[in-house]
Amino acid sequence: MFGLKSDWSLDVPARYFTLEDYEGGTARWCPGCGDLAVLTAVQRICREEQLPPEKVVSVSGIGCSSRFPHYMGTYGFHGLHGRALPVACGVKARRPDLTVWVATGDGDCCSIGAGHWVHATRYNMDMTVMLFDNNVYGLTKNQTSPTSPVGLKTNTHPRGAWLPPLNPLSATLGFTNASFVAQTIDWNPPHLYETLKAAHHHKGFSFVRILQRCPTYTDHVFEELQRDPSQLVVLNHDEGVSLEPSVGKMFPNHERHDPSNLDEARRQAGREDLIPIGVLFRNEACPRYDEYTAQGLDMTMDERIAGLNRELDRFAI
């Protein structure tokens, strides 16, 4: 940021990035889609952190929310359905200098890509993973998703979804080496922003489930939550999300929750009385696989040639 320092000198960085630098193509999401709020929040975080756009990569799978990279002005990878996480892990493996954002939906992450979700959580590579959870398949036009509530009428279950929905928070908190799990809502920009910022600052695999409105197919699912914030409970902690008092006042329920407590985090994730928003769990001490995969990056060409010659000589006769 431009700014006057305490010695009255003016700090002028060589490059300063504005929101425009993070803007890509015009978003083609439906009017009222929650994805737009997430896009804005991420662009604002990039500007706030002054991340060079060429050092930011957003990776996605397939689905409405997976169009996300196209609307960023950074590098992006819009890949295959369910496969955002392996690609994102590959991007990060040998490029610790890149900031990685992953956009994935409830079908993408929790259904077709569920295997990768388990393992990418365990790898705990440094990236922010945003689960855009609208409880439905939108792009393919209204099919049941793993997180659809019981009774949701869709084109594949016109008499209503039969099975209880999968709980992505409980699931992630059950995976070994999970290091950051949070939940937020698309319709409160300050909470969304603060939660994603906390996720971005966490060194490791930051998993954020975003309750995201789909005005076309599941508008009614979150309507009541939006109208009646007393169904939500804001989790507060110095290590979690801190809200401006004016924002905090919008939510009647607040609880102090220590995100270092895994058992308590699991209880919050599974509670049925209220929907928790904020940071449920955070552990900076979890081993990070990107520290393993980056080994050897500092080797010189001479060292590598010598290493290869040494190995070839072991086969000499």
């Binding site: 392996p86 690609v87 892990c89 040998r94 590598r304 290869l308 190995e311």
Partner: protein, 632 residues
């Protein structure tokens, strides 16, 4: 015919020494067959390594049972090793074995059923079973002995285990080195060299173990000298070049390192896995990253992510894994992501024959991806090529901005043979990451309309920001909503193959450039085909062969070469319908994959021959088939 026949194997007497003079041979095939866990493979590897060091051509191949711990004394449990020695470089495992050491008669049956022996094959058979405590075993042994002799095998019963018991309480573990000692006497190996090799092989086990094994080795040599009335002399070949000896999967691993490929992502799958075993131990020497992914799909996805970020990457798999990787492979074609995919082929379809060889993935590699998905496909035909073709694949992937599939197979993966030590060259390594600013106004797919080639922006390059997508896209990588962009994209991606083809040379014809029959092959059958062709040519037949390294695009000039032969035959380890049969005619007969490709390419009448018994094609079976066709 092969150099060693039954009559040649008869012992000769050296009047001066009063003992047998060694019989001079061009080549010989030795097998050691045992229950699994009896050390036959280590014995064969030791013998093969010493033979290579003494200047012989060598091809070693393991005999692997399908199970990890098959029951003892079972036919399906035959485990062991074949070592083919020659006074010239050896390119394949050859035909029937000439000399076999077997630790029991039942495993021997397993090999007899596979046609591994011929009348006259000398079999040195452990005889402790003749006096076994169980009636059933003694009977089995006696029955087998009579059976083997009636089939014309020259069975010599030996008390190998009893001899070993003089030196060790556990002869079952020690007799493999006793066998090496016997073989060293029979083939006049330098015992000092063998002693060094044994010290090397057992280096980790300590001085005591080394000493015991060296004692067993000497005992074996002395026992053979006193009891066996034959020796063989296989002259070394003149070679000044420094050599290395390894199997095809080790060559792939070293090739990956020599290509400067930084990241290999894989999922365990036979017979490709040992590439990762080797990388796991040596990749840190060049700073490489081996990622064992959660599945085959994640493995290629990880490699693609690394490649997108400007780091060279490869994935290593076999048929079932290639099937799972198909969707990502399509993405790599569509979005033009450089990537090396190594497919160590095994028998298929489905789980098929995991440990056995087949050249069955050609059409899957070529056409397995939905949509029009042109990609470069190469096949290594020797262990040495396994090393060099990884480097070539990496360079092609980058120059032509897309995936390259490198096909090898289980035959190359497990075969061990010496080849000239390849250099480690800086120019073979991938260039360093380009982080210079991207040229202003240059599009992410600035296709050259004549070649389809385009430069690629890498994250970190200022001004190159673009969004890679698997959707049909414009040259700006924008999702295409217009009718022409998809057509243009397809055309540009396809043009790249034509551009590559223009840089290739016609393949060399092995033999005369015209004749009655031309054999066309690809992959690991090279040595066996050329050996068969050479035998026939020595008999005066007008037969030649051509071996393809590029399967997509095909090397130029094939139709021109084919024109000069009366008939063309594709030969490979893959299925084709037998030409005769009540339902068979030109409309119903399904041809081998290579024939399908060549017919489409040359529009010529090409026939197929091959099988999928899970075994490499031997020179003898190819010879017999070709001879029959040439004398028809």
């Amino acid at each position: 015919m092969s150099a060693s026949t039954t009559s040649e194997l008869a012992p000769q007497t050296d009047p001066k020494a009063g003992g047998p003079a060694p019989l001079r041979l061009d080549q010989h095939i030795v097998e050691i067959v045992s229950d699994s866990g009896e050390g036959a493979q280590k014995a064969g590897q030791t013998f093969g390594a010493v033979s290579a060091k003494m200047g012989n051509g060598v091809w070693t191949v393991e005999i692997i049972p399908a199970e990890i711990k098959p029951p003892a004394r079972s036919r399906a449990g035959a485990s062991g090793i074949r070592v083919r020695l020659g006074s010239k470089p050896i390119t394949n495992m050859g035909d029937e074995a000439d000399l076999v050491v077997a630790f029991n008669e039942q495993v021997l049956y397993g090999r007899v059923e596979q046609g591994a022996y011929k009348p006259g094959t000398k079999i040195l058979l452990e005889n402790r079973w003749a006096t076994d405590g169980l009636d059933e075993i003694r009977e089995q042994y006696a029955k087998a002995l009579a059976d083997f002799r009636s089939q014309g095998f020259d069975v010599i019963e030996l008390p190998m285990e009893e001899e070993c018991r003089k030196l060790t309480k556990n002869p079952r573990l020690g007799k493999n080195m006793f066998v090496v000692g016997m073989l060293c006497h029979i083939y006049e190996r330098d015992l000092d060299k063998v002693n060094d090799e044994v010290a090397f092989v057992f280096a980790k086990k300590g001085a005591k173990v080394i000493e015991l094994n060296q004692q067993l080795l000497r005992a074996g040599a002395e026992f053979a000298k006193a009891n066996l009335p034959f020796r063989f002399h296989i002259a070394p070949w003149e070679n000044e070049k420094p050599m290395v000896v390894m199997n095809g999967n080790q060559a792939l691993a070293l090739g990956i390192m020599a290509a400067g490929i930084e990241t290999v992502a894989m999922y365990p799958i036979t017979p490709a896995t040992s590439v990762s075993h080797h990388l796991g131990s040596v990749y840190p020497a060049v700073g490489g990253c081996l990622h064992q992914a959660e599945d085959e799909i994640a493995a290629i996805g990880f490699a693609i992510g690394a490649s997108y970020a400007g780091k060279t990457a490869a994935t290593v798999t076999s048929g079932p894994g290639l099937a799972l990787k198909t969707e990502f492979l399509g993405l790599a074609v569509m979005a033009e992501i450089p990537l090396v995919i190594i497919d160590v082929q095994r028998g298929g379809p489905s789980t098929g024959l995991p440990t056995k060889v087949e050249q069955g993935d050609l059409l899957a590699a070529l056409h397995g991806t939905p949509g029009d998905a042109p990609k470069i496909i190469l096949a290594a035909s020797t262990i040495e090529e396994c090393y060099h073709f990884v480097i070539l694949s990496r360079r092609l992937a980058e120059a032509f901005r897309g995936p390259v599939i490198l096909l090898t197979d289980a035959n190359l993966a497990t075969g061990v043979s010496p080849f000239p030590r390849p250099p480690a060259k800086e120019e073979w390594f991938a260039p360093p990451l380009d982080q210079s600013p991207w040229s202003e106004g240059l599009k992410p797919y600035a296709w050259n309309p004549e070649t389809g080639l385009s430069p690629r922006p890498i994250p970190g390059q200022v001004g190159g920001e673009y969004v890679l997508t698997g959707l049909a896209h414009t040259d700006e990588s924008h999702v295409a909503y217009d009718p022409t962009s998809n057509q243009t994209g397809c055309e540009m991606r396809s043009l790249k193959l034509a551009a590559l083809q223009k840089t290739l040379k016609p393949p060399k014809v092995h033999g005369d450039p015209e004749g009655d029959l031309l054999v066309v092959g690809w992959g690991s059958t090279l040595g066996a085909i050329e050996e068969a062709v050479d035998r026939l040519r020595a008999e005066g037949f007008r037969v030649s062969s051509v071996h393809l390294r590029f399967l997509s695009p095909l090397e130029p000039g094939l139709a021109e070469i084919f024109k000069h032969f009366k008939s063309i035959l594709s030969v490979g380890i893959s299925y084709n319908d037998p030409p005769d049969g009540p339902l068979m005619n030109e409309e119903t007969r399904r041809h081998a994959a290579l024939t399908v490709v060549l017919r489409e390419h040359t529009r010529m009448d090409i026939d197929s021959w091959g099988h999928c018994y899970g075994q490499p094609l031997t020179p003898g079976t190819i010879y017999a088939e070709l001879r029959q066709r040439l004398t028809r």
